[in-house]
Symmetry: C2
Subunit: 147 residues, 2 copies
């Protein structure tokens, strides 16, 4: 499995969101070396309190039996917040690959404490996109993380 290829797909989702005027965070779900779900933050686009990138990717796949999630790897451009962390734990997703956590440190320690394998790529493109967004739209960013 190539982390770079799937993180590139998550980053492409983030860029789609940014071009829509939204928060540039993207996510893909990978199963058997193929993308089975993709999404990006739609707070602005859908006036949404819950459509973070990870949530949007989970919602894009619709209802699934619990067993479906148990070999998923979730790729997200940014370290997951408490809500997305909780969704990962609810469904028992075992592997999370994170683009970067320098601009925002999410609940990685909580994920790891519950047995999730967390990998941080420290990807410069993910970091640059998020840093530019935070500088350009600090109020929107704070809203997105409940501040």
């Amino acid at each position: 499995m190539s982390h770079a290829r799937f993180m590139q797909a998550a980053l492409e989702q983030a860029r789609i969101g940014y071009a829509e005027g939204g928060v540039p965070i993207g996510c893909v779900l990978v199963k058997d070396d193929a993308i089975v779900g993709a999404g990006h933050n739609r707070r602005v686009q859908q006036n949404s309190a819950i459509r973070h990138g990870e949530m949007d990717a989970l919602e894009a796949t619709g209802r699934k039996p619990g067993a479906w999630y148990k070999d998923i790897t979730l790729y997200t451009t940014l370290s997951p917040c408490a809500m997305c962390t909780g969704a990962i734990l609810l469904y028992g997703i075992p592997q999370v690959v994170i683009g970067e956590n320098a601009s925002f440190m999410g609940e990685e320690a909580h994920l790891a404490s519950r047995g999730v394998t967390v990998t941080v790529l420290d990807d410069a493109d993910c970091r640059d996109l998020m840093t530019a967004f935070m500088r350009n739209a600090p109020e929107l960013w704070h809203e997105d993380i409940g501040l």
Copy 2:
């Protein structure tokens, strides 16, 4: 503030969901002694992986600044799962009132460890509704909690 009155409203949401063929869990958000958001689980109704009762109530209120959540009391008929717990923590909702946790124990300890005040009413009507659902639709229930 009357816990009974607001839990009754959450239970009414749960019953609406059950009548729709869905998972019977409801939620209301209360601010200044008034209901400002209401929702119920829509897994079945919207083919949704993320529309638990608490998430649906948060989504019903749309985008809000972070400060808006800081005096909310969230009423839910059932102990909150990991995802809904994470959403409560993301937005810094300080008070959670739970109908019952006998049929399902959620992440109450994690909420409390992060400083959220958790009150469990042990409401017989909430318990009876959930127990009947679990007996009638065990596969749907298991799916809803990722099993």
